[in-house]
């Protein structure tokens, strides 16, 4: 029993991992967690830190809740989920404050707001509370990775166009006039819309090629 179950568990987990990265990308397809997506994606480093923090909270919460799923009563499951997620958010917040105070100041109130990120709660409710820890962890890694891909792409584009730099290193010509709007919330919406359209067109073309082959 255990061998075939382990193989199917691993396949299921790997499938969930790939889905999170691409076909069910939380930002570009599911449009989840838009608050931090638009608020802290003005530079690549802010986007990287925020997405790393979110992915870490998702991974840790998924493993803990999946492990405890047998003892959590269904009547209070949401309270337990929020308690576990809030604990990991608080720990992440304290660790970033201790080791990277400047980044902590840049991310401000958005770090504690990870606790209400609907992507995390949805993955916990859909996957972690029903699947073994290995599948839940791979699903969380895929979703966290997909969130990072979306947020870092958005942050990099906005930084390059809005400041002429990438990770604080100048990448645009010296006479480049930064597009100030890209650093404002409006620029975040605009870039996200362009990214979603680009992602959709690319994905459609890829699928057609797959069908053709």
């Amino acid at each position: 029993m255990s061998d075939s179950a382990t193989v199917s568990e691993r396949e299921n987990g790997l499938q969930r991992f790939r889905a999170g990265l691409w076909r069910e990308n939380p930002i570009l397809i599911q449009a989840l967690g838009m608050c931090p997506t638009l608020a802290v994606s003005n530079t690549a480093i802010n986007a990287l830190t925020m997405s790393l923090a979110t992915a870490s909270v998702l991974l840790a919460s998924a493993i803990v809740i999946s492990t405890l799923r047998g003892i959590i009563p269904p009547q209070v499951r949401l309270a337990c989920f929020v308690l576990v997620i809030a604990t990991f958010v608080t720990l992440t917040d304290m660790l970033i404050e201790a080791f990277a105070l400047d980044l902590h100041r840049a991310l401000g109130a958005f770090l504690p707001l990870i606790v209400v990120n609907c992507m995390i709660l949805s993955r916990i409710e859909i996957m972690a509370s029903r699947q073994p820890a290995s599948v839940a962890a791979l699903d969380a890694l895929g979703m966290g990775g997909g969130f990072m891909i979306g947020l870092i792409t958005l942050g990099s584009l906005r930084e390059v166009l809005g400041r002429g730099t990438l990770l604080d290193a100048r990448v645009m010509p010296a006479d480049f006039e930064p597009w100030q709007v890209m650093q404002l919330p409006g620029g975040g919406f605009f870039t996200l819309a362009a990214l979603v359209i680009g992602f959709y067109l690319f994905d459609r073309r890829w699928r057609r090629q797959e069908v053709g082959a």
């Binding site: 608020a39 405890l68 003892i71 959590i72 009563p73 009547q75 209070v76 309270a79 337990c80 308690l83 576990v84 809030a86 604990t87 608080t90 720990l91 304290m94 660790l95 404050e97 201790a98 080791f99 105070l101 100041r105 401000g108 109130a109 958005f110 504690p112």
Partner: protein, 223 residues
């Protein structure tokens, strides 16, 4: 409902409570442990930030002495594990150029920590910087980002009555800084009032101490 059902119901409720309490206890213990571990690191970095802010709010200072308050309420030089409460700014020749006071109080979202500079001879503030806050991005966060408003603290003159009693700073639209007024900002009312109250409270607390101890704190006259 039978007795058996009743006991089952109570048992079920107790089990639910027990699981919730157990998870909450483990969560609380973990947070407390990590808090105790990271707090010294955060305070050390904040100490550096307070020092940087002190140099910004004391324009003529290139160095400073850091003080905290002892159990008797009198200022003493900062020791290991102490929190900085007062910076005495020194110029290149080591002469005192003013005091920078660390203040804190509740803002809209969380505690605001700030440093403001004081020129006792001229009777005015020399600047203010918020060192830590979690005010709403785009609204209350102007207390950090709006540099026109932040820099306006360097023009605020303290007001005293006939008995040399300090009059608190007031918040007002179109503030007259030379009359001890702070500019109001729409959308950041609570944060602006919080900053003003923190400064008023710190001034009321520190002015008598500074008047009494400043000569000693400068070091020159003591040595």
């Amino acid at each position: 409902m039978t007795d058996g059902n009743g006991r089952g119901g109570i048992g079920s409720v107790l089990r639910v409570q027990a699981v919730l309490v157990a998870i909450a206890l483990v969560a609380g213990l973990t947070i407390a442990t990590v808090h105790e571990w990271t707090r010294p690191m955060v305070m050390e970095q904040r100490g550096g930030l307070f020092g940087d802010a002190a140099l910004e709010v004391l324009p003529d200072a290139v160095n400073y002495r850091i003080y905290t308050r002892g159990a008797d309420g009198r200022p003493r030089l900062l020791g290991d594990g102490d929190s900085p409460e007062l910076f005495i700014g020194l110029d290149a020749r080591g002469r005192t150029v003013g005091a920078a006071i660390v203040g804190s109080g509740m803002g809209y979202a969380d505690v605001i920590q700030l440093v403001f500079g004081l020129d006792l001879i001229a009777g005015r503030l020399t600047g203010m910087r918020v060192v830590a806050s979690r005010e709403t991005p785009g609204l209350g966060s102007v207390i950090v980002d709006d540099m026109d408003w932040v820099d306006s603290f360097g023009r605020i003159e303290l007001q005293f009555d006939g008995q040399r009693q300090l009059q608190p700073l007031r918040v007002r639209d179109g503030a007259r800084h030379e009359q001890g007024e702070v500019d109001a900002i729409s959308g950041a009312t609570v944060s602006v009032y919080a900053v003003t109250q923190i400064i008023n409270r710190s001034l009321a607390e520190w002015l008598p101490i500074l008047r009494e101890e400043f000569a000693e704190l400068t070091g020159g006259r003591r040595e």
